[in-house]
Every structure is written in structure tokens, then in C-alpha cells.
């Protein structure tokens, strides 16, 4: 996918307005990653940029919210791509989008975007720990739903994802309802809120020479329990690249983070529930014709089923 001539001209005009100088767009190329947003590399006479474009509401997340999060984190000196502006109306490219700097990085080891060597893993873990230690008031303006107490945060997130699945599917999925009840029942107490990435792990970090240049893909970010991110890295994104014990060792060594076995199980169930619910949104968009990409059908069926099956294997028992 590239943009039509009209879209390219409209994008150049919008960028010129944002930058306060004439911008000429010389090339556009769809990047082969990303499902929640279409990612298009845009080359211009002012450098290379990434257009991160809405896909009709995939995963029920908001690009405008994501833009606000990245802008605030960038101002705080956190490693994110510099954002250059957001277009919310859809008038320029047909869908809302935001623009950020393109970050050139060497290809990942073996061409696997989820591969991380020891140095890169350590750098990522330190960056994630730093995120969790940031002052949450940095982002209070960026999120719609804010918990009134730390312990309310996890319940708010469970309700958020359950509401998305109910909107998307239109009928009751008993195993998801059971999952929501299980997560509410066994939710651990939380004393302090943190900024949570929500989709943390291999594939959502850019490295050079073992150093984190940018943490990417902030659409799932929210205020909550950092354990969600450590679990997401170990049980979801980093599952096929390192064993759980290897990840736990790295977390302890580079961030001082440890958790009980029951904690790991709880947060794995939470993340599987989140994924199973979020994935239902893509099938709804596929069937409505909002987004006909085949990956929307696959995420909404096979990936949803995979997450739900793993969730069901955990929620079959009470938490020890």
C-alpha cells in the first residue's frame, strides 16, 4: 500500500503546515509490521518519517491517545520516536494518523524482530523499569479512564477489555466472562500506580549496538501495575525467544523485579484475557467492511482462540 497522488499531496501540505516550511514527499512505502496501525515510511526533503495510521478502531485503541502519551514521554526524556503532529479528522489521508520520526536501526539478528542479544535485553529491561518509575502525573492528561486508587486500576482494565469484547462480538462468550470474573476475584492489591506500556517486549523496541533507541507501539499504555509489563514480556512477546526462567533471571538482575509463582500466573492470565478480548475487535471490523485485510480475520479467529485457550487452561483452577 502506498498513498494516491492526492493523498501524497495532502500529506505534503499538512506536513508543510506542521513544520512551517515547504515539505516535498518523495516516496511512501507500507512497512510490513503492525496491525493496530498501518505504518507507512514517508521520505521527504526534510528527512524520513513514519505515518502511523488508524485502522478503523483495531483493538479499540486511540491513535490520538497514543500520540499524547508519546509526546509526554518524549518531553520527559524517555526513549520514544519524536512525534511531529497528529491529524484527527481523517481529511488528509482518509483516516486519522500521527507522524513521527523514522528511526534507522540495523536489521535484527537473524532477521527476527523479536531477537534480543544479552546487551539489548538488559537495555530494554532497564528502560522498562525506568518507565515504571516515572511520575504518573506526566500522563494524567493523556488517558481517558483514570483509576481513583491504585487497586482500582486492574479492575478498570479488566472492565475495559471485557467491554471491548462485548461490543465487538455482540453475544456472550462464556469463557471470557469466566476469565473476567476470575481476574476480578484474584486481583492482587496494588499500592502505587505506574505507567504501563501494555504491549511490552521483543518487537516493540528499537536497538543500536545493544542500546535502546526507542520503545515503540504505545497504544495499550495506561496506568496500572508494572507486573503486567513484565508478564507480557515473558509470557507473550518474549515467549519463543527465551525461557520463562531466563527472563525472570534477567528481570531480577537488571531491574530487581521478582514476583511469586501465583503472581506470574495471575498476570499471564490477565494478559491472555486482554489479548483474547482485544483480538475480537478485528473480526468485527473485518465483517463490517471497515478493514478487509486478511490479518484482521486471522487475529479475530485463530489468535483470539489461541489466547482464550491458554487463558482457559489457567482459569480452570483457583489461584494458589
Amino acid at each position: 500500500m502506498t498513498f494516491s497522488e492526492e493523498q501524497t499531496a495532502a500529506l505534503a501540505a499538512w506536513m508543510s503546515e506542521q513544520f512551517g516550511r515547504d515539505v516535498e514527499v518523495t516516496a511512501c512505502r507500507r512497512v510490513a509490521t503492525g496491525h493496530s496501525r498501518a505504518m507507512v515510511r514517508v521520505e521527504t526533503n526534510s528527512g524520513a518519517f513514519m505515518v502511523r495510521m488508524e485502522q478503523g478502531g483495531v483493538f479499540g485503541t486511540s491513535g490520538v491517545e497514543e500520540y499524547g502519551v508519546m509526546a509526554a514521554l518524549g518531553r520527559a526524556g524517555y526513549p520514544v520516536a519524536t512525534v511531529r503532529g497528529a491529524e484527527e479528522s481523517g481529511r488528509v489521508l482518509g483516516r486519522p494518523f500521527f507522524l513521527m520520526d523514522w528511526i534507522d536501526v540495523p536489521p535484527p539478528p537473524g532477521g527476527d524482530e523479536r531477537a534480543m542479544d544479552e546487551d539489548a535485553a538488559a537495555s530494554f529491561i532497564e528502560a522498562l523499569a525506568r518507565l515504571h518509575s516515572l511520575d504518573t502525573t506526566l500522563l494524567t492528561g493523556a488517558f481517558g479512564d483514570l483509576p481513583s486508587t491504585p487497586s482500582e486500576a486492574v479492575h478498570l482494565q479488566i472492565d475495559r477489555w471485557a467491554a471491548l469484547y462485548r461490543r465487538s462480538v455482540g453475544e456472550t462468550v462464556p469463557l471470557l466472562e469466566e476469565g473476567a470474573a476470575w481476574l476480578h476475584h484474584f486481583a492482587p492489591p496494588l499500592e502505587r500506580l505506574s505507567i504501563v506500556h501494555g504491549d511490552a517486549g521483543p518487537g516493540n523496541v528499537l536497538f543500536r549496538d545493544g542500546r535502546t533507541l526507542a520503545v515503540t507501539d504505545w497504544e495499550f499504555s495506561h496506568l496500572g501495575d508494572p507486573a503486567e509489563d513484565w508478564s507480557f514480556t515473558l509470557a507473550i512477546r518474549g515467549r519463543r525467544t527465551r525461557s520463562a526462567d531466563e527472563w525472570k533471571g534477567l528481570f531480577e538482575r537488571h531491574a530487581g523485579f521478582t514476583m511469586t509463582d501465583a503472581g506470574w500466573l495471575y498476570w499471564e492470565a490477565f494478559n491472555l484475557f486482554k489479548g483474547a478480548c482485544a483480538n475480537t475487535s478485528t473480526l468485527a471490523l473485518f465483517e463490517a467492511g471497515t478493514n478487509r485485510s486478511p490479518n484482521m480475520a486471522i487475529i479475530g479467529t485463530h489468535l483470539h482462540q489461541t489466547f482464550l485457550r491458554r487463558l482457559a487452561s489457567i482459569t480452570a483452577e483457583s489461584l494458589p
Binding site: V31, A32, E178, W182, P294, H302, L303, T306, A316, S318
Partner: protein
């Protein structure tokens, strides 16, 4: 009246043409991956058979009727079978008494078994999503 090709045959044609004729000529990585994903979807459409939904609803209804004396099922109200199954499973969370155990062993086992059937049917799409051509040949 002329015969119409079946949906299955037409989807198999889409998958086979994309696989054997189109894919090899694509250079762009994003387009290649989208085409492989489409092959996975077309394979699935060609082979998935009839919608199991009505039969599953009837089976769940029968399971709920068989457990009508179970207090968790009795308390589940009068909605659809899925709503009553959900209410019974939700009521059983955090409990290990006989009623909760019965709900899980009957209702849950049924639902998880159906989920396993779905996963088996969509496994080719899972391969395609990861950029690998589905190994299953619908023919």
C-alpha cells in the same frame, strides 16, 4: 439451468492461484505477507464446512438442562444458553464445592472442547499469520 461452482471450489481456486501464480512474482515484503495471509484465509474458507453454531447451541442447552438441579445453573436465569453458561461459570469462580466442580466439569469441558475444534480448523491461518505458507492442502 447451468451448474454453479461450489463456494469451496472457488475459494480453493483463489488459494491455489495466489500460491502458485501470484506469490512468486511479488517483491514487496508487505504485499508478500498480506498475500500469504490471504491464502490462509482462502484455505480456511474452502475447508471449514458448515457453521457449527446451531449444533453447539443445542448441545450447550442440553448440558444446561441436564444440570438444572445444580444451584449455580438454577441461579443463572433465563437468557440464551451462552448467557446462562457464562453466569454459571462466573458463579463457580473461586469455589471448589460440588456445584462449582460440576459446572466446570460439564459446561467448561464442553466449551473448551469446542474451542479446541476451532483452533484445529484455523491452524492454517495461524501459520499464514506468521508468514509461513499453510501446509494443509485443502484439495
Amino acid at each position: 439451468m447451468s451448474r454453479r461452482p461450489t463456494d469451496g471450489a472457488m475459494w480453493a481456486s483463489v488459494a491455489s492461484t495466489l500460491r502458485d501464480t501470484v506469490l512468486g512474482s511479488i517483491q514487496d515484503e508487505y504485499t508478500q505477507l498480506a498475500t500469504i495471509a490471504l491464502i490462509g484465509v482462502a484455505d480456511y474458507a474452502a475447508t471449514r464446512g458448515a457453521d457449527p453454531g446451531p449444533e453447539r447451541r443445542a448441545r450447550l442447552e442440553s448440558a444446561l438442562e441436564a444440570l438444572h438441579a445444580n444451584p449455580l445453573v438454577a441461579a443463572a436465569g433465563s437468557g440464551t444458553s451462552a448467557e446462562r453458561a457464562a453466569a454459571a461459570l462466573v458463579g463457580a469462580v473461586g469455589r471448589d464445592d460440588p456445584a462449582a466442580t460440576e459446572v466446570r466439569s460439564v459446561i467448561r469441558t464442553l466449551l473448551v472442547g469446542e474451542l479446541d475444534e476451532d483452533l484445529q480448523a484455523t491452524s492454517g491461518m495461524g501459520e499464514a499469520f506468521r508468514g509461513r505458507l499453510p501446509t494443509r492442502d485443502p484439495a
